[in-house]
Symmetry: C2
Subunit: 363 residues, 2 copies
């Protein structure tokens, strides 16, 4: 991450989705960024958003996305638009030299994402998707436990869920179940995190094959509302990841990583139970006690405090990279586009397996 | 469960596997039973077992299984034999009017098990398998949470693991990886619990289809060392269960049951971390807090104390049923054979799907 910039990075928000409220707050919490402009399809919606969220009067309010992109003082845009609009607006933003912080899923498929990334690269702007949990210090601490210390031994099993029980109105009207808006449904909206977690745990190595499980549920327009998949490394398997995402089950965000020597577990990996402090558990060297009447060890809890919420840390990281590009003419950091690309590739593979009746899809 | 018998139920143990040590202790801990005889293939092995485990001098030591079954004072046998020997010895025991407490997996397939159950039924003896966790008061408490209170809403997702990281010697020599001994490998030995947990959570309703996942690992003799499966209810799915069992991953015994309204979770469901007290967590009505910066609720922990270890409670339950049959000429309780039969059917289906290249197997 770059140094703290002398002049803060000015963000424009394109689209006033609910999630924008959280990120608007994060932009102001982060030490190196400021909310500079808000654009919606209508000036009324933008004004409403501004007044609902106590946005400072100095923030520019625009009645179109284009106006945000045309404002020469906007350094970067945060884009919580329906997925079907990502390609157009992210490319437009890049062409106008705006750095792009975009909500997940990044695009309808990796072909679209490649176009966005190409536009960002050729225009020298930073790209990052909105996977906030990757920026939490707990995630950093877990990675140490996983990789640096080798406490878990060889990782051979990863399990991740992302579920939320939505309302009947959501199932009827939300853009996340509309084929022309967020065609990837639950897989794109919340499955993104599960797939990201598998890749994260495998240090962004792509799997050998991906197989959707037969429990997929779709609405009448073919949008996925619930699904599960097996993400397999090696054949025969050296590591297997299993994901489950659903709009029908009560809120869950489980992540378990198991190796030959131990396991790591948490149940709130995407959004911690509380902002200021988060935890995970790990168990190392677990065996059954003599006579198998209990365990020799119990899970150990690791607590990680966080001064800033993870979304502010994400904004801080992003703004730091933008600052580096601006002040020292450095290149955009390829790490974040690479993470997005691989996650989208994995998502495409699950979708393809679903579409082809749960046939395995090879990489 | 029956009343405490005036004369305790006399157990004979057939086979001196490691697990027999735990159950020998349980037989003596349970208030209504006594260890009466031990039989091994050689008198030396039986004597060694007796001395290793501080067995009282009054306990009969036999150098063959037949001698245990021929002893008229033996009421019931506990049978921790390799699975391939279950059919022969369980049928022999039943014919000699011995009640049968048998280790899991109950048989090599449900056809074999049906023969055992038929022998038990026609001879009026009780049958029960060694799924100890079903007898823990925590399990009873979880069932209340699940079914009586409807706290979780409609259960639509169940997840269960049973893994243990075995030694190279185990992979070479243990009977649980030998095709002529425990041909069902990890699926039979530890996957049994995962499948039992799915059935338990669905009140012993059989699923619609079962599909093995492609991550199966076998040894050179075709014995399963690791596998995963999807257990689906309804088509399209109303509930899906995912299981994972493995001889390669560090000890895990995860069970998560998620419904539309909440979830229940524990990580030691097969053998609690400690004998005297066990716990589970449940989360009800979880939503993300305003702005999605945390959860509105955290998991609640339920602690359940247990005066006797679960294996002693199993023996107590079994002995109570035997006592009822003996004193009031009542019929064996069909509940336990039914649980075993359904678990074995599910196991057979997973095995079949594995053998047929992960094709779905319908019930």
């Amino acid at each position: 991450m770059g140094e703290k910039p002398e002049t803060p990075i000015r963000f424009g928000i394109i689209g006033c989705a609910n999630i924008a409220r959280k990120v608007a707050r994060a932009i102001n919490l982060a030490p190196c960024s400021v909310l500079y402009a808000i654009g919606s399809r209508s000036i009324e919606k933008a004004k409403q958003f501004a007044s609902d969220n106590g946005v400072r009067e100095s923030v520019k309010i625009y009645g179109s996305y284009d106006q945000v992109l045309d404002d020469p003082f906007v350094d970067a845009v945060y884009m919580p638009l329906p997925t079907s609009l990502h390609l157009h607006w992210a490319v437009m933003a890049a062409r106008r030299k705006k750095h792009v912080l975009i909500e997940k899923p990044t695009a309808l498929d990796v072909t679209e994402l490649e176009q966005i990334l190409e536009a960002c690269e050729s225009n020298g702007v930073q790209f990052m998707d909105g996977s906030m949990w990757l920026h939490h210090p707990r995630t950093v601490k877990m990675k140490e436990t996983l990789f640096d210390s080798k406490l878990l031994g060889d990782v051979n099993y990863i399990y991740s869920t992302s579920t939320t029980s939505v309302s009947p109105e959501f199932l009827e009207n939300d853009i996340r179940v509309k084929a022309d808006m967020d065609a990837l449904g639950a897989l794109g909206d919340i499955g993104w995190y599960c797939l990201g977690a598998i890749l994260w745990a495998k240090n962004y190595q792509l799997p050998t094959l991906v197989t959707a499980l037969p429990d997929v549920s779709k609405n009448s327009n073919g949008v996925i509302l619930s699904c599960s998949a097996s993400i397999q490394y090696g054949e025969p398997a050296e590591t297997v990841g299993i994901i489950h995402c659903s709009f029908f089950s009560s809120t869950s965000m489980d992540l378990t990583i198991t190796g030959s020597g131990g396991s790591l577990n948490l149940r709130d990996f995407i959004i911690p139970y509380q902002e200021s402090s988060a935890s995970f558990e790990f168990t190392v060297g677990a065996k059954l006690a003599q006579l198998h009447i209990g365990w020799n060890v119990k899970p150990q809890k690791v607590v990680v405090d966080s001064e800033l919420p993870q979304e502010a840390l994400m904004v801080q990281e992003f703004a730091g990279l933008v600052h580096d590009i601006r002040t020292s003419a450095s290149h955009p950091d390829p790490k974040w586009p690479d993470i997005s690309r691989k996650t989208q590739m994995l998502l495409d593979a699950v979708k393809k397996s679903v579409d082809f009746g749960c046939k395995p899809v090879y990489f």
